[in-house]
């Protein structure tokens, strides 16, 4: 299939079959993803999306191509209903349908030609163009600010959960050790209470 239309159609079909995952830990490798998602069907291809522009602390994302649309749908709906953990918990992995812009090797949409022109400073619309450029920069700054804020919140949440978890664990640990080394028995006989078995 050589014609651009056919190529593009095939590409679109591939997009439909692909699932986009994010919130993946950086430690997760391709095999892990493959094993994980093969519960839902046949995984044909996995591509991690390289993150070039943001700081390295953000979670990974991946594009997973499945065998057919139905499998992709199943994954998306399953992950929407139950939190799915990969390589650690409790931060769940999110899935959604892939979109055309997620693929950087996509073929050009047939029928679109690229043309451009230069605007000189004396052009009436030059100012507008400059304003648009400034707007772009501002938006980019806004976006990165929001991102920073989001990462901060996520970190807070994680810290909070961690503390709760550690505290709980310590409690259980203490209970365990107390039962194990007989303290409970001693105390029970001292106070004449029968220790319950639970």
């Amino acid at each position: 299939m050589g014609t651009p239309e056919a190529k593009y159609a095939a590409f679109e079909e591939k997009v439909k079959r692909t699932v986009y995952l994010d919130n993946i830990s950086p430690q997760v490798t391709e095999t892990v993803v493959r094993t994980a998602l093969s519960q839902f069907g046949t995984v044909k291809n996995i591509q991690f999306i390289r993150n070039y522009l943001e700081s390295s602390n953000i979670p990974q994302c991946a594009l997973v191509e499945m065998e057919n649309i139905r499998q992709a749908d199943v994954i998306v709906s399953e992950l929407a209903q139950l939190p799915f953990m990969m390589s650690g918990m409790p931060r769940p992995v999110r899935a959604r349908r892939a979109e055309v812009e997620m693929f950087d090797d996509r073929p050009a949409k047939p029928g679109r030609g690229i043309s451009c022109r230069w605007l000189e400073p004396n052009d009436p619309d030059f100012e507008v163009a400059q304003a648009l450029k400034r707007l772009t920069r501002r938006h980019a700054a806004e976006a990165s600010f929001v991102l920073k804020h989001q990462l901060q919140e996520e970190e807070n949440l994680a810290k909070q959960q961690n503390e709760a978890l550690q505290a709980n664990y310590k409690k259980y640990d203490m209970l365990d050790s107390v039962i194990a080394d007989g303290t409970v028995q001693c105390l029970a006989s001292h106070y004449k209470i029968r220790p319950a078995d639970d």
Binding site: N57, P83, R91, E101, C116
Partner: protein, 513 residues
């Protein structure tokens, strides 16, 4: 025309029919039938009930009809679900055109007590289940039915089941199936009459009749609350008479004439007018042909998906111009990442911003060629969770540092404007490398356990993936994360909407578009 307590007003508006038993403490009088606006209803009839604020009526089967001490007429109904009502739980099940589901099991959504005035009219529901207790309907009946059902939805387990339990809501399931021949009710569609079908009493042991539905019932669906008391009565898909939805406007005298046949009564539905009540329920049924199930809107997870709205940044990668094809085959090309890194080090890398996000890498290259007469390699940055949807970015790798510098300065001083009027920006951005040791926020571990878990089993457990079940601590924590994600998504969405608006504003000033 809402709830007439004074039945003297119109003698034919409402009348009780056959009495049933008496409730406990003799405070409640059960009935087996009643007439409402000339239509007679019996126990186990299927009816439409009006829900205020909704254009659609709900369908239920009358399982109890009674009159309280304060002379409030009440009915108890077991509900039928439309596929759209339970679209979250449909899964793979694809309903037929006019298929509904009977409620079963125990839980919210099974049944409700409503004022009798909530009845709009009868409904012809036929049971098409292959259950042996169900008298099988004929082809004709199936065709004439307004709705059919062959599955039931367990409200407790929230599942669609094909097998019918022995009883639903305390009533034997046979009452919910189609009526048998000898139980057929024959009612003439008389307008002003209380004529009861002589066969009536034999049909159902104690019928409660409910009439009319102008008041809005409190419907108990899965979303709402309220479970009716235990009822009796089997709801079978008996023949339903379509009562012209007249209440009070008298507009429509669409009488449904139902033909009686030995096996079942078919009910023909005619288009119904509004119910008079102030908020009219305007449901129309197709004539004799069945009504389509409304909004079979079960979406596989669409509604339930907590998807972020596209944060689409298509960051463009420094576009590198590919060398000619034939040359390329002579020596192996290093991978894109390697190229990127090299270009970065050598100062050849430029990031183009404010591109149309739908550009393909080749188009970016074409653009650069047209503008600068430079062959470059370009790659659009993939759209991921953190990309802005309205801005496309691409990395471009130029041949030399000077070219890169020149391009940037030109883009700054003049304005390169492609046909979509988005002036291109060129900047230098440094690449961030992948960092495997980066801390991933959100994965917790217990220090002690980590030390102990040198054992194979534990290691395996962590390295695989699983779906968390609602009975563990991690589930709660995972839900907290989900909540956090949703919040972030909402933030992004608002931001992008605002940005789109700002762009639009700015573009309004363009004169020569």
């Amino acid at each position: 025309m809402v709830g007439l307590e004074e039945t003297n007003m119109e003698d034919d508006y409402f009348n009780w029919g056959k009495k049933g038993g008496v409730g406990e403490e003799e405070r409640v009088q059960f009935y087996e039938s009643f007439t409402l606006e000339g239509m007679e209803y019996s126990l186990y009839d299927c009816v439409h009930l009006y829900r205020s604020g909704c254009r659609e009526t709900d369908i239920g089967k009358l399982v109890e009809i009674y009159d309280t001490e304060d002379h409030e007429k009440k009915i108890k109904v077991v509900w039928f679900f439309r596929p759209s009502d339970i679209h979250n739980f449909l899964g793979d099940w694809k309903p037929r055109r006019n298929e509904i589901l009977l409620a079963s099991g125990v839980g919210q959504g099974l049944s409700n007590v409503n004022p009798l005035e909530a009845i709009v009219q009868k409904c012809n529901v036929v049971c098409a289940s292959k259950d042996e207790r169900n008298p099988q309907p004929s082809e004709e009946e199936l065709r004439m039915a307004t709705y059919i059902f062959s599955h039931n939805f367990d409200v407790g387990k929230r599942q669609i089941l094909e097998n019918f339990p022995d009883e639903i809501s305390g009533i034997k399931v046979e009452c919910f199936f189609n009526k048998r021949n000898n139980q057929q009710l024959f009612r003439l569609p008389k307008f002003q009459t209380n004529l009861r079908d002589p066969a009536g009493p034999s049909n159902v042991p104690s019928k409660l009749e409910l009439d009319e539905a102008t008041a809005s019932p409190v419907k108990n669906k899965l979303k709402e609350s309220m479970v009716g008391p235990g009822e009796q009565g089997c709801a079978s898909n008996e023949m339903l008479r379509l009562k012209p939805a007249l209440d009070g406007n008298g507009t429509q005298s669409a009488r449904i004439s139902h033909g009686q046949d030995k096996e079942r009564h078919k009910v023909r539905f005619v288009d119904q007018p509004h119910i008079s009540a102030s908020d009219c329920v305007a449901f129309t049924k197709g004539d004799a042909s069945r009504k389509k199930p409304d909004g079979v809107a079960f979406t596989k997870g669409d509604a339930s998906r907590k998807k972020p709205d596209g944060v689409a940044f298509t960051k463009g990668d420094a576009s590198r111009k590919k060398p000619d094809i034939d040359k390329r085959s002579w020596f192996k090309q290093p991978s894109w990442e390697v190229k990127l890194q090299r270009a970065q080090d050598a100062g050849h890398l430029v990031l183009l911003d404010n591109l149309d996000p739908s550009y393909a890498s080749s188009e970016v290259e074409a653009l650069v060629w047209k503008a600068f007469r430079e062959k470059v390699e370009a790659k659009m940055i993939q759209y991921s969770t953190f990309s802005t949807p309205q801005y496309g970015k691409a990395f471009v790798i130029f041949k030399s540092r000077n070219t890169a510098e020149r391009v940037i300065s030109e883009l700054n001083s003049r304005c390169l404007v492609p046909e979509n009027w988005r002036p291109v920006i060129g900047i230098r951005r440094s690449l961030k490398g992948p960092d495997k040791t980066a801390r991933f926020v959100g994965h917790l571990s217990i220090a002690k356990i980590r030390l102990q878990s040198q054992r194979e089993a534990m290691r395996k457990a962590v390295s695989t993936s699983h779906c968390s079940q609602p009975n563990s601590i991690e589930y709660d924590m995972a839900l907290e994360w989900c909540l956090q994600q949703e919040k972030s998504d909402a933030c992004w969405k608002t931001l992008y909407e605002k940005q789109v608006e700002e762009i639009r504003e700015a573009r309004r000033a363009i004169r020569n578009l």
